[in-house]
C-alpha cells in the first residue's frame, strides 16, 4: 500500500529554460517521438530502481515481446490516426484472422498456408470495406469501425460455435504447414540467456518501414496531408480516398499478422478474445505523440508508446506490487507519460504543427 506512493515521484525533470532554445534543439523537441522517449526513459529508470528483477536482459526481452504484440498493430493504427481516422475493429480482427485460418483449414482439411492466405484476403477486405464505407458515406470512422467491431465480435463467436460446436477453435498443431507458419509468425531463438521472439524483429521491421514511408516517400506526405487538411489535400491533387482506404487496409493487414502470431503460438483461440486491445493500440499511438485529430505523429513515437505500455504493465509485475492496484498504477504511468510528452513538446514553442 505504501508502495503506491512510490509511483508519484519521478517528476519530469528536463525543465530548463525554454527561452534560450537553439534552433537545433527546437527542431529535436518538435519531433513527435521526443516527448514519449523522455517519458520512456524516466519510466525505465524508475522500474530499474524499483524492481530488481526488471534489471536483466531476459526481462527486457519479455517486455519487448509484450510490446511487440501491441506495437505491430499500433504501427498501422498510428499511421491511420495520422491520416485522421480511427479503427476500433483492430482488436477483434486479430482474432477473426486467426479463427478464419484455423477453422477453414480444420473444416476442409486443407494446408494451413492456404487458410492463412484466405484469412489475409478476408482481413484486407474488411479493411477495404471500413475505408470504403467511411469515404463513401462520410460517416466518422469511429462509428463505421464500431459497427465492424461488433459485427466481427459476433461473427467470431457465432461462426466458431457453428463450425466447432464450441467457442474456441480446434487443435491444428498436427496439420500441414503448422511448423513452417510457426517459424514465420511465432518462433523464438536464444541469444545467450535471452529468448528473442520473432515478433520483436517483425515489429522493428514494420516500424522501420512505416517510418521510411512517412518520412521519405510521397505516400508519407499524402498521409500527413489527408490527416491534417483533407480538403486542401484534395485540392492539390492528393488521392485522399485511396490513401485512406490503403491506411485502413494496412491496419487490417497488421491485425492479420498479429492474429497469425496468436494462432501459431497458442494453437487454439478463444473466440471472444482480442476485445479491448483496439484501445491499447490507440493508447500506444497517443502516448507516442500522435494527435487524436490527425496530421501529426510518427512511427517511432508509436513504437515508443507501445514500449511504454508493455514496460508499465510488466514492470508492475516485476516490482511485485499488489495486483489489485494494477490498473491504478497503469493509469498513473500512462498519465505520466502523456504529461511528460506534453511538457516536452511545450518546451519547443514551435509553430510547426500539421505537416
Amino acid at each position: 500500500m505504501s508502495q503506491s506512493v512510490q509511483t508519484a515521484p519521478a517528476p519530469p525533470e528536463p525543465g530548463e529554460s525554454p527561452r534560450v532554445t537553439p534552433a537545433l534543439r527546437r527542431r529535436v523537441l518538435a519531433r513527435p517521438e521526443v516527448g514519449s522517449l523522455v517519458a520512456a526513459v524516466i519510466i525505465f529508470v524508475f522500474f530499474l530502481s524499483a524492481a530488481p528483477s526488471f534489471r536483466s536482459a531476459e526481462s527486457l526481452f519479455t517486455v519487448l515481446y509484450q510490446s511487440s504484440t501491441i506495437g505491430i498493430v499500433a504501427v498501422g493504427v498510428g499511421l491511420l490516426m495520422i491520416g485522421g481516422e480511427f479503427d476500433l475493429s483492430a482488436g477483434v480482427i486479430t482474432t477473426s484472422a486467426g479463427l478464419a485460418n484455423s477453422m477453414l483449414c480444420w473444416y476442409y482439411g486443407i494446408n494451413l498456408w492456404v487458410g492463412a492466405a484466405v484469412s489475409l484476403a478476408l482481413c484486407l477486405l474488411i479493411g477495404f470495406l471500413n475505408g470504403y464505407l467511411v469515404m463513401r458515406t462520410g460517416i466518422p470512422s469511429f462509428l463505421i469501425t464500431l459497427g465492424t467491431f461488433f459485427v466481427l465480435q459476433g461473427a467470431n463467436l457465432g461462426v466458431t460455435k457453428l463450425v466447432t460446436g464450441s467457442v474456441s477453435s480446434t487443435d491444428i498443431s498436427r496439420m500441414d504447414g503448422f511448423d513452417s507458419l510457426q517459424a514465420v509468425f511465432a518462433s523464438s531463438f536464444r541469444v545467450g540467456s535471452v529468448t528473442v521472439w520473432i515478433t520483436v524483429l517483425w515489429w522493428a521491421l514494420f516500424v522501420a518501414l512505416a517510418a521510411w514511408v512517412l518520412q521519405r516517400t510521397r505516400t508519407g506526405n499524402w498521409i500527413y496531408a489527408v490527416g491534417g487538411a483533407p480538403d486542401s489535400a484534395r485540392a492539390v491533387g492528393v488521392p485522399v480516398i485511396k490513401t485512406k482506404i490503403a491506411l485502413f487496409m494496412t491496419v487490417s493487414f497488421l491485425g492479420w499478422f498479429v492474429g497469425m502470431h496468436t494462432l501459431y503460438r497458442f494453437n487454439t483461440l478463444q473466440a471472444g478474445n482480442g476485445v479491448g486491445n483496439e484501445f491499447l493500440y490507440i493508447i500506444a499511438a497517443v502516448v507516442g505523440g500522435t494527435l487524436l485529430t490527425g496530421g501529426f505523429g510518427n512511427a517511432v513515437g508509436v513504437a515508443v508508446g507501445a514500449f511504454i505500455f508493455g514496460m508499465t504493465s510488466l514492470g508492475i509485475v516485476y516490482a511485485g506490487w499488489d495486483p489489485n492496484w494494477f490498473k491504478a498504477f497503469l493509469g498513473v504511468m500512462l498519465l505520466l507519460a502523456v504529461l511528460v510528452n506534453l511538457y516536452v513538446r511545450r518546451l519547443s514553442t514551435t509553430t510547426r504543427k500539421a505537416g
Binding site: S53, S56, E58, S59, T62, V63, Y65, Q66, T69, M103, L104, Y107, Y108, V118, S119, A121, L122, L124, L125, F128, L157, V159, V163, G165, S166, V167, S168, D171, T195, L209, T219, K242, A246, M249, T250, F253, H261, T262, R265, F266, N267, T268, Q270, A271, G272, N273, G274, G276, N277, G310, S313, L314, V317, Y318, A319, G320, P323, N324, F326, K327
Partner: protein, 331 residues
Amino acid sequence: MTTRRTAGVRLLAALAVVALSATACSGGGRQKADDGDTGGGNAPGSSGYTIAMITHETPGDTFWDKIRAGANQAAKDEGVILRYSNDPDAAKQAVLIQNAVDSRVSGIATTLVTPNALAGAVRTATNAGIPVVGFNSGIDQYRKLGALMYFGSDETLAGQTAGRRLGQAGAKHPLCVIQAAGSVALEARCAGVKSAVSGTENIQVNGADDAAVVATLQAKLSQDSSIDAIVTLGAPIAIDALKAMDSSGSKAKLVTFDLNAEAAQDIQDGKIDFSIDQQPYVQGYMAVTSLYLYLKNGNDIGGGKAVLTGPSFVDQSNIDKILPFTKNNTR
C-alpha cells in the same frame, strides 16, 4: 505498403469475396457440426413447459458452452422448450429475468452472481408464482432470495480443497492467477487456496489476450523464483501458464480450475497436476431437470440444501475415463 492501383484493389476485393463466401458456407459442410448433442429425446415442448435460463455469461467462454450443452440436453430429454439469455451486467440480467416473468414461462433457472442486484427481479418471479432455481453462483444467498433449489460448486470449498492438496504436495508459495478483475467467484477460489496455504499470492492478468497472460506470468515467475505452484482459474489460462513456465524455466506445479480438451490432454501427459472441476454440464442439466420435476411432480432436490456439483477432481487416476467427454464438450 498497400496496393495503390485500382485494378489491384479490385482484384483483391474479388479474391476476398471468394474467401468470404468460402468461409461463410462452411456451416453446411461434411462435419457433424450441430450442437444438438446426442440422443433422441422428445419433441420440443411436448411436456408443455417453457423454461427460461438466464446467466451472467460473457460471450466467448468455453465454460458456458458446457452449461448450455447440459441445459439443451435436459430440455431435449424432457421435451421442454428452453429459452436462453445472458448478460454479464447485473442490471441487464435483472431485466432479462423480468422479461421471462412477463412472457409467463413455467420456470426460471438463473445464476445469482450478484444476489442483491437480482433480488427484486427474482421476487417478481416468485410473486407471480413462477418457480425459480439458482445455479452456478449464489450458493449462500439463493434461499434468502426465494429460489427453491441450487446446483453449483462451493467456490471457497473448492479453493480450500485445492490448496490443501497442494499443501500436502509440499507447495509453500502458490501463485493464484485471476483472469478477470472484480469477480467474486474467482476471488473466493483464491481466498480458499490461501486459507489452506498461507503463502498464496494473487496476480491479475488480462484473460482476453493470451500473449499478455503469458508475458505477465513469465515476468512474475522471473521476479519471484520461490513460486512453487500455479493455480489458474480457467482452463485456457492454464495452457498459457504452461507456455510461461516453459519460457522461464519454472519447475512449479500447475493446477487449474475447470477443464477443456487441451487441459485434459495436459493432465494425461502429466503437465497439469490436477483440475478442480465444477461440472458445468451437470449444473445446466440439473437446473432444467429440477424445474421439470418440480412442475411435473412437485419434487424438491437437495433436501433443502444446495446440491454440490463440485469440486470434483480430475487427475492422472481418472483422466482416461474423462478425456473423451471433454472432446464431446460435455465435461
